[in-house]
Symmetry: C2
Subunit: 371 residues, 2 copies
């Protein structure tokens, strides 16, 4: 390296690197105008938003009785104090004259296709299964890849367990874990705390160390039932042709069906049940949480020869909450499995179509996997 004594070089960087001369000032970084959320010693939580011109601001929280009108002070700051709020990872947002928005005082945002939701994480004492605990921790790795099957850039998150970087000669089982229709590949970690759930279960000796692969479930554009099927088909191509080969080349994972699981929630539950039951040569562990459960036609191949299907399946796990709007669909799917003598485990639980339920399902299911 050359080391000039002084380089007083008031020169532009090379032309290709010069900033546009007319560049406008960036929206300025600055500390929050108000503190929000503010956790108080007694478990109450204060929420604040500076919006002097708004006519009505409402706090919409996921915890029990979480909806609360906010009041404006003379400086234009809306606020409300609620609680005590139970420990949990809760969603909330502000409705400003009917417009739902994140809390701009809070850097914790639920990863979504249409982001309107902030995260209030109140750890338990003692800590809950999804809380960070003082145990060995795995790592979450972010990849961007060009999907050949879909012809565009995609994102991927991969959890490796605490022992992964030490046990260099060990190969691990792999769980492909899908999110719901509002989410993306980051949601199971940032909001679902899948990494901490696994860390804690592994530390307790309750789950086997495993690699967890979290894809973006939105593979095709378009809505409605047809769009849903198109999306599952596109997602399957990306999974089988791009992601699994990438993961199996890049990570020390076992590549047999008994060492692979596919599980998801809501839309991702539909994807997991459909793809898993049609590819039992690849996945012996299949699960759906509050799933957009597939039709009979979509899983016809697995129903044809129940003995063969049951022989390949290590576990087919279905869970749904009593207050879930997809309960009937899950009950119908479970009845279909029973009518066709397909072995499965069915958990009807408390809860609605929501992340508190799905965190518990992961904590319930993970210990059963790869045994």
């Amino acid at each position: 390296m050359k080391r000039p004594l002084y380089t007083f070089a008031p020169l532009l960087l090379a032309a290709g690197l010069a900033a546009p001369a007319a560049e406008a000032p960036a929206p300025r970084s600055r500390p929050p105008a108000v503190v929000s959320p503010e956790l108080q010693a007694d478990g109450h939580v204060a929420f604040r938003l500076q919006a002097p011109k708004a006519s009505e601001v409402v706090l919409n929280g996921q915890w029990p009785d979480g909806r609360a009108p906010m009041a404006k002070d003379a400086s234009g700051v809306w606020s409300v104090t609620v609680g005590p709020v139970e420990p949990g990872v809760w969603e909330y947002n502000f409705q400003v004259d009917g417009l739902s928005m994140i809390d701009p005082g809070n850097p914790a945002i639920k990863p979504m296709r249409a982001p309107r939701t902030s995260i209030l994480h109140l750890p338990g004492n003692p800590p809950l299964i999804h809380d960070f605990q003082d145990v060995p921790h795995g790592v979450v790795r972010q990849h961007t890849y060009r999907s050949k099957s879909l012809g565009r850039l995609r994102e991927l998150a991969v959890y490796t367990p605490p022992s992964y970087d030490q046990q260099r000669d060990t190969r691990f089982p792999a769980l492909y874990l899908q999110h719901g229709s509002g989410d993306n590949q980051a949601t199971w970690v940032v909001h679902g705390k899948a990494h901490w759930i696994l860390d804690n279960l592994i530390a307790q000796g309750r789950a086997r160390p495993m690699v967890v692969v979290m894809m973006d479930g939105h593979a095709a554009i378009g809505g409605g039932p047809a769009g849903f099927q198109d999306n599952t088909a596109a997602f399957q191509r990306d999974l089988l042709e791009d992601v699994m080969p990438f993961v199996e080349a890049s990570y020390r994972v076992k590549a047999d069906a008994a060492s692979r699981g596919i599980v998801g929630l809501s839309m991702g539950g539909g994807q997991s049940l459909t793809i898993g039951l049609n590819h039992l040569e690849r996945f012996a562990w299949v699960g759906g949480f509050s799933a957009s459960a597939p039709s009979k036609d979509a899983v016809a191949a697995a129903l044809e020869d129940p003995a063969a299907t049951n022989q390949k399946l290590k576990l087919l796990w279905i869970g749904c909450g009593k207050n879930d709007f997809l309960l009937q669909r899950n009950q119908a799917f479970v009845a279909l499995l029973a009518d066709n003598n397909i072995r499965h485990e069915w958990q009807l639980t408390d809860g609605a179509h929501s992340w508190p339920v799905w965190r518990k399902y992961l904590a319930e299911l993970a210990p059963k996997l790869f045994r």
Copy 2:
């Protein structure tokens, strides 16, 4: 594993796992009400926001002439089409009756302490140095750790270069890369595209493969000049006592000063220059981008014996834009270095206090490091 033929078990999960009976419905996931941003074939971009009750909505974009009033249609959707917008990674937000907010149609959000900014990434053709290109890619790894020096949970992001996972017997140099006061540990990747800048430079043979460590620069609470110094001191403790030992135990990095760099922007530039110049036994490569440059007193130790300082320093790099509000402070710092015969490289460039400048600085500086 036990495999019951049927487990029709309409039972609650174990008591500790049951959902709160009174759990409120979550804010519902749903597709965006409107499409925003929408990139059109001719380089124009349409922005939309559904806000029927708002009186005024303004688009505030970072690109040249990026401020534009939006108009409301009969369905309550505000929109504006602008451009063509030049390729780049641009910040923007909506100002809804004076309240700055992210675009709820866009999942790409700039990681900030007070998140109010969305990201519009328009790749160049040919691709720019910060664009994803079809070259070998590194990995970004996310860690949460309990900082012993600060007594709380902290986040950390670590980039490993493309060759890291293959060259198992190689140790790599490490760059500690800091963000500005509005940002956090995720900003250099999500918004700065540091990982792609490094991938591209390494693929071109222009930069040496290196590990990049990105900490959360907000280590202490409190504002103003005193708060800034307190924060730098707290950040230094976390860096030296927690993060560097963790990184050097967990990653295959070289642990000598000639293989360590510390560089940052704005607040993080102040941290990097202050900590680097006071710890030349640890960092031989030091840099500040648009830095909150330290006072004479804060770097007195390095000024005392210029020959010793110059002997330890491999490179001291200072860059600032002509339209940066910290220009005078940087010029004063550079004059201080000159007056004290401290060897350095000074780049006065076009641009303001903004990320387009800092991406270019990283692309300019990285090739000089660890030579």
